[in-house]
């Protein structure tokens, strides 16, 4: 590179790089180190040994896993429809998936609160037709949180999958069926392995976003159904324990980074096997 170009290059990237360094990278590292100081390391030990905190971590992982599996199970057929259909329904579907995507997560959680609440629509309906005698509790349970998270994150899964499925030649499916493979066998032996990169990248997105979610568990889970995100806020606003809150939030960060690292490796192995390029 010529000297003049080099100068140009540095001038162009310098402002953004400086802002990121000063306001992001250095503070994150600095606060990490200060969270170890003055006996702060004990907070990390407490989290990793106390069954209460571990229970919340496990609860968060469990909810995130279920959300991911539901998104995958529902998202795959929808993504397949989006990728393969050429009807007009496809465009309507695309807009309908995209639209809630752009609506505030607070607003969407509120919608579920009106539907699922104690005097909500589901209970009104069930009481009216006489299936139940007293309102059933749906709000502030794992069901409500999972429902809210699936509504929030399903579009990510659908778009990750649709992109990959669109790239798979549908002639492969015709070939498999003309050679006597059933639709189910074609799905498991042709479609599923070839769409693995999309399954992986969609699942990673949905899983990490539910692990770090805050608004949905706060509004639909309430104070008694804690996930890591809401736990951190409780440490700050109820226990006033900044040290513990930082320890939990850094443990969450490490968890996410290790998870991303492992699945990136898995992703490149899958891509090597099917000979594609990396999408993860």
């Amino acid at each position: 590179m010529v000297l003049n170009n080099k100068k140009q290059f540095y001038l162009l990237i310098a402002p953004a790089a400086l802002v990121l360094l000063v306001m992001f990278v250095i503070p994150v590292i600095f606060i990490l180190f200060s969270s170890f100081k003055d006996g702060g390391i004990a907070n990390y030990q407490t989290f990793l040994l106390d069954p209460f905190y571990l229970g919340i971590l496990w609860n968060t992982i469990k909810i995130s896993l279920i959300t991911t599996i539901v998104c995958l199970a529902v998202g795959y057929p929808v993504a397949y429809f989006l990728a393969r259909s050429e009807s007009k329904t496809k465009n309507i579907l695309m807009i309908i998936i995209l639209f809630p995507f752009l609506v505030s997560s607070v607003v969407r959680s509120y919608g579920w609160m009106v539907i699922l609440g104690k005097k909500g629509l589901v209970n009104q309906f069930l009481l009216a037709i006489g299936v139940i005698d007293s309102p059933i509790k749906i709000m502030y349970t794992s069901t409500a949180v999972i429902l809210g998270l699936v509504h929030l994150l399903l579009p990510y899964m659908i778009f990750s999958l649709a992109g990959i499925i669109q790239g798979i030649d549908s002639n492969l499916e015709y070939a498999s069926e003309s050679l006597g493979g059933s639709r189910l066998r074609t799905f498991f032996q042709i479609l599923l392995p070839l769409s693995a990169p999309g399954i992986l990248s969609g699942s990673i997105l949905v899983f990490t976003l539910s692990m770090t979610s805050y608004v949905t568990p706060r509004l639909l889970g309430g104070a008694n159904f804690l996930m890591i995100g809401t736990m951190v806020f409780q440490e700050i606003s109820i226990n006033f324990d900044w040290g513990m809150a930082s320890a939990i939030s850094y443990i969450l960060l490490f968890f996410i980074l290790i998870f991303l690292f492992l699945f990136n490796m898995l992703g490149s192995r899958i891509n090597n096997r099917i000979g594609g390029t990396s999408h993860v």
Binding site: V74, S105, L257
Partner: protein, 264 residues
Amino acid sequence: MFDKRTGNFTKIVSICAIIFFMAPLVVIILASFSPTELVLFPPKGFSLKWYHNIFSSSVNFMSGLSNSLEVGILATLLDLLIAVPAALGLAKYKVRGAKKLETFFASPMYIPSITFSLVLLQLFAMMGRVPASLRIFAGHLIIIMPYIFRNTYSILTTYNWTLEEAAASLGASPRRTTFDITLPLVKAGIVSGAILSFLYSFDEAVLASMLNSPKFITLPVRIMNYMEYAFDPTLAAISTLLILFSLLIIILVEKVVGLNMFMK
């Protein structure tokens, strides 16, 4: 011919997904016209009083809205000024280690907002008096930068740089080449990145909850706080307005750059 591949099963699941996606939004819109405080279905009449309520001073939704707009617009504009040049530099001068720099500029995507909000909370506490508006602005500036950077960069990597040489050989200055040739051609990436960034900031509630002060609260946090002590259809009315706002943005994007921009 491809329609043969989409069997009844995928169609039925897709229709269920449409209902599932739309259900809370439809319920909100219907609830906003409810005459009773408890939302009943079927509704027993029609009322606009909840919309009237939005503008009453006690709920402060309007100050929340102006705070959210202020932070969202300023953070997006400043990020455009710094992240678009960074994407331009990285794509144009294909330096060694470009891949690492790309990860660096996208790095705020990998940190949970919870973690970053605590980092900033403690950092600002050490710095002394920093107004809440500035604290939230700083947080949003960082977390939305990757969206502007990546959307611009992904278009620039497929951009035909010989166009710049052509313009230069015809006597255009480097400045003119950038502003008259390159930037207009990658407009779609910049616009979609800016819209995603703005909406992210406008909707963001984690940093905004952690870093706010009683004097400066953004709209999503205002709405969440309101839910904690009242659960009347005023919430449905403000939510309906926000849904319309998103709809307006979708129509605008479709007109300016086309909806395909969001599929990337």
